[in-house]
């Protein structure tokens, strides 16, 4: 079974243009993000100490980053002492090879998988398919994406771009090809579709020998790994198979068990907008007679150390993948997630993906370099971020990097380039000015139309969507011109 890939996606403005033309997707997205935005606001409003939790969350994560070497060594020691095996993977290829070797040493034919951003980032499914290993995604949305030969478009709700009748059609068409077919005459009510997924996946859960998961947190002090989920597919994967492989980004640590008191409050309310998600599994190494009897933890770098080296950009590593920033982002709401061309869409993707791909060290491809521009710098993402990542600040910082890298290549530039350079010489001032303007923009936006201030090329880029195009060259046109030249 082969899996689609984000490789070779066009730069953001072009991919966005394509996405914007898809009216069904835009409608699905607008409805979904509005729903979850309101729900999150309510879940947060009932917590009088929310801002204190955010401050603590940011500081705990900064503690992790500044003490990363010792905390990783401590985690390794505790997991090993509890009967687990720890592997270190410098990049995607190493991580994929480690997982493939473990699977081949056991059943070798198939794995059940819990939704995980890290394994999407390294495109593990494609790598395992190349070894003839079937990967069964077990999260409902991931199942929809996988059966639809599709790419995910949201961190939490990867099939947010699909509506119920599309999902029904995918189930009817595809389930029978890989296992138990959808029930005859199935309708498109969400409950019936969920039941179809339950029946389809159950045989896979009961027979699987190996499971692959990610992890939301790993506690250095105790060696405990934590996975939050809703459906029970996580519990199935983490409990029933004999072998469990967890792929974990090195930034996912928490120093102490007690730190969970912060994150088990911040994450559910920011993510699914619930007081608590239905299920959380926590395990430490191997427990005789309960759950997998062989546990592998793969610690993944894959560009994280490069990100860590940038004093402004490293705060992106505080991210706990809640997806709150996606749901409030006016750009994401219009373009959807796939336009970002990586596993990480929305505001976090715009700052994390370029850094994971080395933008802090060297020039990057046009698609990657376009990502820091995929934002209006309105600042809504910072306000909702449970770990207070200043996404606009990092975006401005990365835009300056792009311009820096481009400088060597260019001869005479047009007015746009000159204007951009002039502004970029003071990224901080630019950020401040744009955010001030954006405050106004968001007030207007609430009344139904989004009007953005800031440098004209941002307005122009946005303007081509919902407002009459202002004079001047759009960012998209500018980018294409630069790209053709280099």
């Amino acid at each position: 079974m082969s899996h689609p890939t984000f490789l070779g996606m066009p730069p953001f403005p072009e991919a966005a243009k394509e996405a914007l033309a898809n009216t069904q997707q835009r409608a699905n997205l607008a409805k979904a993000t509005a729903t979850i935005r309101d729900k999150r606001a309510r879940a947060v409003a009932e917590m009088p100490d929310w801002e204190h939790l955010r401050l603590a969350g940011a500081a705990v994560k900064d503690t992790v980053l500044t003490r990363l070497p010792e905390l990783l060594e401590q985690l390794e020691e505790r997991v090993t002492a509890a009967g687990g095996v720890v592997h270190w993977a410098a990049d995607a290829a190493q991580a994929n090879a480690i997982v493939a070797d473990i699977v081949k040493a056991h059943d070798g034919r198939e794995v059940v998988k819990v939704k995980s951003m890290a394994t999407q980032e390294i495109e593990l499914n494609n790598a395992l398919a190349a070894h003839g290993i079937d990967v069964w995604e077990t999260d409902l949305a991931e199942l929809i994406v996988q059966l639809g030969h599709d790419l995910p478009s949201h961190i939490l709700v990867p099939a947010i771009h699909r509506n119920r009748s599309e999902i029904r059609d995918i189930f009817v068409e595809e389930m029978g090809k890989v296992g138990r077919p959808a029930p005859d005459g199935i309708g498109d009510e969400p409950a019936a579709l969920a039941e179809a997924a339950r029946l389809h996946l159950r045989e896979k859960f009961l027979r699987a020998k190996v499971a692959v998961s990610g992890g939301n947190f790993a506690i250095a002090e105790t060696g405990t790994v934590v996975v939050l989920e809703s459906e029970g597919n996580g519990r199935m994967c983490l409990t029933l198979p004999q072998v469990l492989v967890t792929v974990l980004g090195i930034e996912k640590l928490l120093p102490t068990w007690a730190d969970l008191e912060v994150f088990m409050q911040l994450l559910p309310r920011s993510s699914t907008a619930e007081r608590m998600n239905p299920y959380t599994s926590m395990w430490t190494g191997v427990t005789p007679g309960d759950g997998p009897q062989e546990f592998h933890l793969v610690l993944l770098d894959n560009g994280r150390t490069g990100t860590l080296a940038d004093p402004t950009g490293r705060q992106a590593l505080r991210c706990i993948r809640c997806s709150a920033c996606l749901n409030v982002c006016p750009v994401y709401e219009r373009t959807g997630g796939r336009a970002y061309g990586s596993a990480y869409p929305g505001p976090i993707g715009a700052i994390l993906t370029p850094q994971l791909r080395g933008i802090n060290q060297h020039p990057v491809d046009a698609q990657t370099a376009s990502l820091p521009f995929a934002s209006s710098l309105c600042g809504a993402c910072f306000e909702v971020c449970p770990v207070r990542i200043d996404i606009p600040d990092v975006l401005v910082h990365l835009r300056a990097k792009v311009v820096e890298h481009k400088r060597g290549h260019l001869g005479t530039e047009g007015a746009v380039m000159a204007a951009m350079r002039a502004t970029f010489t003071s990224p901080r001032r630019l950020g401040a000015a744009q955010r001030l303007g954006a405050l106004g923009a968001r007030v207007v936006g609430r009344r139904g139309r989004l009007r953005l201030r800031g440098p004209f090329w941002i307005r122009a880029w946005f303007g081509t969507r919902d407002l009459p195009a202002p004079p001047g060259q759009s960012f998209r046109a500018w980018w294409r011109k630069q790209h053709d030249r280099s």
């Binding site: 409805k31 500044t66 003490r67 997924a197 809703s230 459906e231 599994s281 430490t284 427990t287 309960d290």
Partner: protein, 200 residues
Amino acid sequence: MTARDDMLARIRAALADHPATPTVPREYHRTLPDADVVGLFAERVADYRATVRRVSPAGLPGAIAEALRGRVVVPAGLPPEWLAAADVEPLHDDPPLSVEELDRADGVVSGCAVAIALTGTIILDGGTAQGRRALTLLPDHHLCVVRADQIVGTVAEALTRLDPSRPQTWISGPSATSDIELNRVEGVHGPRNLAVLIVS
């Protein structure tokens, strides 16, 4: 150089600017002063559309009998009197039940380790009357008995009562998904029915 040494060396190099480790401000609330934690717990569990009943110790066997039928998984250490009035076929996990047997069971009855009022959460840690994790996962109906003295106010209080070396399952309502147009559907892979009896 191994991947391990290589990664650790790169991390140390990335931190060459020696960023200061911050002091973590912990001004958030770690307790719920003056709260009726039992009442709050009952309310919050019900919000997840689980069934909640408050019973007296004497009323417990009767309430259990009403909630269970058919083949019921019984974890080790479950007080025998809990099932004294129930007309069920008990399935003991000794020797361990196969996944197929668990899958065919009608329900499971368990105790818990700790419960959190603020979030309506039940925590199982494999201790007495809880069993290994698969027991409370595969049957479609989970009846969980929570004693009032097991209920704490906050997440922070619960963590201090728990032993991280034990495998844990935190349960907040029945399994659910919002993956289809963000409509909440109760019951995907875990038990579709969660019933909670609070004994006080």
